[in-house]
């Protein structure tokens, strides 16, 4: 188990990089997922179709395939995802603004994939609001936007918290894939390097890596439990 102490800086670096990916991807997925959810519950049929189509495609595709599309499909189409090179952000997220596009590719894949699940989690919350509420709001003459803003969403988010949390936890675990698509130094790729290049036994390394992921996921789960207890929807 001495590898955990000897190579602590490697594990810590891997943890830091994975955390960066997860934070950025979570923000992106929540924004995109919210937009998709609004599309899916909107009264305009073509918009609904767009939202439904998106969710059906990305929810039913393996993440590995989405990753392949991002890491090898985008370059084939001549894109290096340079639109993500937002100036200023690279102060924290050092990999965002490099010439190597693989961090950005991984981010795109994770966001696109996770957004479908975020959308469904939000929609399940909306569905938990009794239909009478929205109907009452409509009959008062509120527009679709006002209806969402003042009546439906304030009630729905409570029901969405737990499924949303599950989606984000799943996303953190899914981020283990990015190390196999060109990114150097995230948690899962670190395991690869320590075991095959430096010859450490696999089990201690795997334990170290697991601890890294647990540090990210367990507190999140505990936080969600607390929110759920405090904001329990009275039925």
């Amino acid at each position: 188990m001495s590898v955990l102490i000897d190579k602590f800086d490697v594990f810590a670096g891997g943890f830091w990089l994975t955390l960066q990916i997860c934070v950025l991807a979570a923000v992106g997925a929540l924004i995109l997922g919210a937009v998709l959810a609004v599309l899916r519950i909107s009264p305009v049929p073509p918009l609904r179709a767009v939202g439904t189509g998106y969710v059906n495609v990305f929810r039913n595709m393996p993440l590995t395939v989405v990753m392949f599309f991002a890491a090898f499909g985008l370059p084939a189409l001549g894109s290096n995802a340079d639109f993500l090179r937002v100036p200023g952000l690279d102060a924290v997220f050092s990999r965002l603004d490099t010439d190597l596009p693989y961090f950005r590719f991984a981010l795109i894949a994770l966001v696109l994939y996770t957004a479908a699940f975020v959308c469904e989690a939000l929609r399940s919350g909306v569905n938990a609001v009794p239909a009478g509420q929205a109907e009452a709001a409509r009959s008062l003459g509120l527009t679709f936007g006002q209806n969402l803003r003042y009546v439906v969403l304030p009630q729905s988010w409570k029901a969405s918290v737990v499924p949303l949390g599950s989606v984000i936890i799943a996303m953190i675990k899914n981020s283990a894939l990015v190390g196999f698509f060109g990114i150097v130094g995230d948690l899962s790729q670190t395991a690869d390097q320590l075991t095959s290049a430096e010859g450490y036994a696999f089990v201690p390394v795997a334990i170290g890596i697991s601890i890294g992921y647990l540090i990210m996921t367990v507190p999140l789960g505990a936080l969600l439990d607390r929110i759920e207890k405090r904001q329990a929807v009275a039925r």
Binding site: P75, N80, D99, F181, G182, V184, T195, S196, A197, G199
Partner: protein, 292 residues
């Protein structure tokens, strides 16, 4: 209990003998239990008695160990392993090939999953802590592959200024080596699980170079001479050895003896010419086996 076990062993041995005797279609003579005798209790004797051997090799390394449509791996590593197996008196069709990617090579030896590993296995001290190497049977060297029209990269020092980007395979010796030459790993190094992906990244322009052992690069260049070339000379020495259990010195000596014999009688050179030699790499003179 003990008696039945001995009886069972005896029965199994007789059966094995009987089967090989009735087989009669062995491609080469001099195989079959009993045709060779080894020291009692040695690994050689055990394998010869069992008439079976498990060998770990690569399934995705052109010229060294690549599993093609035939369903059996083919390449230089595979041929060298076959020379050893023949010396053990075991027919070729009794070899069980086990895929041994870089990550698990030490583990499969330590756990006894395989009896021998021949998988472009660079001899180094870190690995010697857990296993032992016979050989070397080939000396490769790390090199750099670039696009045909690339003029700025001439060797590993071309990455020192932090501008040029390079690709290798995660967990490999060349990847660790090139880390010493780049200015910033985060912005210059890309690692994939296979060299095919590196080649695609080079083609697509995401990276400027691919680095690994020269023989692997020559394999790619042989397939696509219009696009790629080597940049400069080999800058490391990568002696390939055969991995065996650390404490099994008898077996290691046996493998070393067999290798020396193969260097002398031309079978080693033939193995090369039939496989990786087709890519145009120089075999050079036979290496000196290292009996540490």
């Amino acid at each position: 209990m003990r008696i039945t076990r001995v009886a069972a062993l005896a029965a199994a041995a007789t059966l094995a003998l009987g089967m090989t005797a009735c087989g009669g279609d062995d491609a080469d003579e001099g195989t079959g239990a009993g045709s060779k005798s080894f020291a009692a209790g040695s690994t050689m004797e055990r394998l010869n008695k069992a008439q079976a051997i498990k060998i770990g090799t690569k399934f995705d390394q052109p010229g060294f160990g690549q599993k093609g449509l035939s369903g059996k791996p083919e390449g230089f590593d595979v041929e060298v392993a076959k020379i050893i197996v023949k010396e053990l008196g075991i027919p070729e069709d009794k070899i069980e090939w086990v895929e041994a990617p870089s990550k698990v090579r030490e583990d499969v030896i330590v756990n006894g999953t395989v009896d021998l590993v021949a998988a472009t296995y660079t001899i180094n001290d870190k690995r010697k802590e857990r296993i032992a190497f016979a050989g070397p049977y080939y000396e490769a060297g790390q090199n750099i592959m670039v696009k045909k029209d690339e003029a700025a990269i001439t060797g590993p020092d071309s990455f020192k200024d932090g501008a040029k980007k390079v690709c290798s395979v995660t967990g490999s010796t060349p990847a660790e080596e090139i880390k010493k030459h780049v200015k910033d790993v985060a912005t210059q190094l890309v690692l994939f699980d296979t060299y095919d992906k590196c080649r695609d990244a080079l083609k697509g322009g995401q990276v400027d170079a691919v680095t690994t052992d020269n023989v692997i690069l020559l394999g790619y260049i042989a397939k696509d001479e219009a696009s790629f070339k080597l940049a400069g000379e080999n800058f490391t020495k990568e002696p390939y050895g055969l991995g065996v259990k650390k404490e099994d010195t008898d077996f290691r000596n046996f493998v070393n003896d067999t290798l020396e014999k193969a260097f002398a009688d031309g079978s080693w050179k033939k193995a090369w010419d039939d496989t990786a030699g087709k890519f145009g790499a120089e075999l050079g003179s036979a290496p000196t086996v290292n009996r540490y």
